[in-house]
Amino acid sequence: MADSLYANAVIGEASLRNDPRGSEFAIAVALAFYVTGCVLVVTTGPTFGALHAFAAFVVLTAVGALNQLLPVLTHAPNARGGIVPVIASGFAAGFILLVAGFYGAPSFAAAAVVLATSATLWVAWSIVRLASGREEGRTRALLAIALAAFFTAGGIGAAMAGQLGGMWRLSFLGIAPVHAMLAIGGFAGMLVITISYRFVPMFAIAHADGYGRWGAAWAAALGILVAAVSFAGSAIGARIGLATIVLAFLAIGAQHLKTLSSRLRARLDVSLQYGRVAWLFGIAAATAAFVGTWFPALFPPAIVLAILGWLSITILGYAYKIVGFLTWQSAKARLPAARLPALGSAVDLPLAYGALILMAIGAPAAAALMPFASRFAQMGFDLYAVGGIAAVVAIARLAARYLFTSEGERGTEIEHRATR
């Protein structure tokens, strides 16, 4: 049953569950990095250190989420317990060293070694798992592209960190834009695009007919590759690549809107609301980068829109489902007879939507004001950070709702009775 929708399997079938403790650990550490990034962007501004704290958030979320999703999406073998925490710990240590290096610590060389090792292990392990999967050829191919982009971006990043740490005299800093394009677009972007093709129909309860043969996703991948390669020296190539990305993102957005319009779910849930806002940021980021090929001052705002808006808001939105699912399963395993609140009822919606509003105002304000008035741009970053931390608090409250469920509790009028 190639390319059939298996994403929903993430919500059940115990035999396919995949080291949930490992995923929980990776995602918890990822959220800690996100909060760290928010604190750093408030206290020190939008520095490379803050930027790479957010990068750690994206990478560690990917480690946890892919560990959970790969077996159920592709029927790849389950992971042995312990592998994910080891990989996640390596990334966490590497990113701490890297962020510390950007703030003056003599840790770039160690960061380069630890991150390169972690990236190599994770990518190799994940590619083997993708190759052993039996379902979802398109999903596996696009995820393989994302992992290849991550490996290349990580290699360039390690080379730059090694240079900053005095490991070699060769200069790699000139290809930092290639690193950024591959990391943000090739890895994180393609990961979000691929997963969204599965999550949006599932969360909306809608058919996935509107996605066709995923041509828009392939176009996005091609555009990212062309733009990344061209950033090494061809402005025309960069424009062609970025224009392709803009058009592909518009097409993907239209496809998601078509899917949402045919949904059976009465109201869009919190994950889809976050996703809808995030996709506007994705289109804005790609457009800013495209225009930035004429006006380079727009590249930093494009990065802000991509990381703080598109990627972070998408991931935080999906985290309400992923964290909710993992902790729901954990509570159910611990207390089989407990009455658990349904997932949608356990989210603190005023807090979650309040956080989204702050992020949706703060990120574009910061991006728009960056080229002109850094003091006012900082206010946008501050607003965003408050919203981002509030979103993490909402996710933590959701997790606590299940993790601290007691046997006799009646959380809502919705009952879930597991009799054995």
Binding site: A342, G344, H416, T419
Partner: protein
Amino acid sequence: MEPKSSIVQLDNRGLSPPEPMMRILAALENLGAEGVLVAKMDREPIFLFAELHDRGYTYTCNPDDSGGYLLEVTRR
């Protein structure tokens, strides 16, 4: 005349998500006030539960003998 308490049965095993959830919601459209929907599932449809609540239904979902789950939905 509609039976006072009709039972609608669905076998959603082997279907790719979100097809099981869509079939359940479509069947509920035609479920009488006293009706019961019983669905055999491969997995617990935990993302469906809040939707059922919003639409005024209550449910139980328990493991069955085949290794799957049996979902029963009634109007509150």
